[in-house]
Symmetry: C2
Subunit: 233 residues, 2 copies
DNA sequence: CGTAAAATTGATTGGGATCAATGCGTGTGG
DNA sequence: CCACACGCATTGATCCCAATCAATTTTACG
């Protein structure tokens, strides 16, 4: 894992990423602490559960999934991450990573090593506040996920998953209501607490009901409001 | 909501609470920003969703639940909070509270108003790092909850709920494997994504299987390892 | 191509929801 | 102090949604 010279001001994602909330001069300082990592390929681990915590990552392009294993070795996917999103915030308080993070396709990432954190937060007090806000909104997001999965039917869960994905990809990767699922049906099922067969059947049903159009991994949202209505029933 | 003079160093919860991680001198500074709130009674709101965000709370004694409402007005309980635990971290990044927080019994709380936050984090840089750690471990906890609820049976969910509650109450409220459920069966069901009937049936089953002893709201954990084994199947 | 993983589709089963009735406990007013 | 009421909890009977089991089909990739 080598370091590459990096200028946030020229990065296409600078408004989405951490520096997007900093002043121009602070960005200059900030980017000295950032490392552009080498490309991760499909299946590569960013880090594994229990590995020494060395910093957080920002997705520049590609998709990452993070999962935990329970005591009996069963996998539970915690989240999927896309361009502009920050990975590893749940491990800051520990000296080891709390999940395993895997690239689902070809991924470019920036890493903020946390050895520099104390120095950084003295130089740029706003960075601490920035991270605080970021983590706070991630906490709120996990509650929203809980709200939308815990007492819902399979169809509602799937509809919510697609809405959520669409909303997270918009203004980041694509602006159209059309995107590619980087994850398998098995991954979707695992995340939502459904079997692969149920995922398959209800994706199909959403298509029959003219809410989406799906061809393999290519999804097009036909009727976003229809999907939202489904979830809100 | 009036302020009361407060000395963290004399508080019985000072090792559990935020100041527990600060040096003695920092605590002196820190407690000037803290307010001991008046007592909240059963059913009282600490704050409501959408209300202006004014700060975070620490539970000194009692139990608080936080919930969200979905678009159709259905409630989803996000978490229960006990002595030493911090409430409202999911609202820091916003100017309004993201959940509604309600006292389940008589509650004493301390409030850290966030108007003072910037001043505070300049005087005590460790406070920012402390909050960062706190939020990070809360993020990790929500993942653990997801892991233990998403693909589990009703019995496993309930077993996990009791284990989790026991672990959070230990070294805080009580050291025995015995405690009182401040929440109703309806609340438990809502949190776990089960109906009240299912909660009732499986609490009963856990008792029949000699894993717990339950009389109304009084719970005694008889076989903690047995409960853990159930969850880990 | 050829093989394996991923996904679809159908038949059947089962766990927890729903419907329904009763029991318990606590607070209120006569 | 008791009677009543209302919310909360328990218990039983039935139903239904999604899991499971099983058999292909499709896709990805060396």
């Amino acid at each position: 894992m080598t370091t590459a010279t990096l200028t946030c001001n020229h990065c296409q994602f600078n408004t989405l990423c951490l520096p997007g909330h900093l002043g121009h001069n602070d960005v200059e300082l900030f980017q000295r602490h950032l490392q552009r990592t080498p490309v991760f390929h499909k299946g590569d681990n960013l880090y594994k559960t229990g590995e020494l915590f060395s910093g957080i990552y920002v997705v520049v392009s590609g998709t990452v999934k993070a999962f935990k294993l329970d005591a009996s070795g069963q996998k539970q996917i915690i989240d999927f991450y896309h361009a502009g999103e920050v990975i590893g915030l749940d491990s800051i308080s520990s000296d080891t990573y709390k999940t395993t993070a895997v690239a689902l396709d070809t991924c470019v990432l920036c890493k903020l090593p946390f050895a520099h954190f104390d120095e950084l937060s003295i130089n740029i007090p706003e960075v601490a506040r920035l991270l605080l806000n970021l983590m706070s909104s991630q906490l709120n997001n996990t509650s929203i996920v809980h709200l939308n999965l815990n007492q819902k039917t399979a169809q509602q869960k799937l509809a919510y998953f697609l809405i959520e994905l669409d909303s997270r990809l918009k203004n980041r990767v694509t602006s159209a209501n059309s995107f590619i699922l980087a994850m398998t049906r098995t991954d979707i099922g695992n995340y939502l607490g459904l079997t692969i067969e149920t995922v398959s059947r209800f994706i199909n049903k959403l298509q029959k009901d003219n809410l989406i159009k799906i061809t393999g991994k290519q999804v097009e949202i036909i009727d976003l409001n229809g999907l939202k209505q489904l979830v809100e029933q």
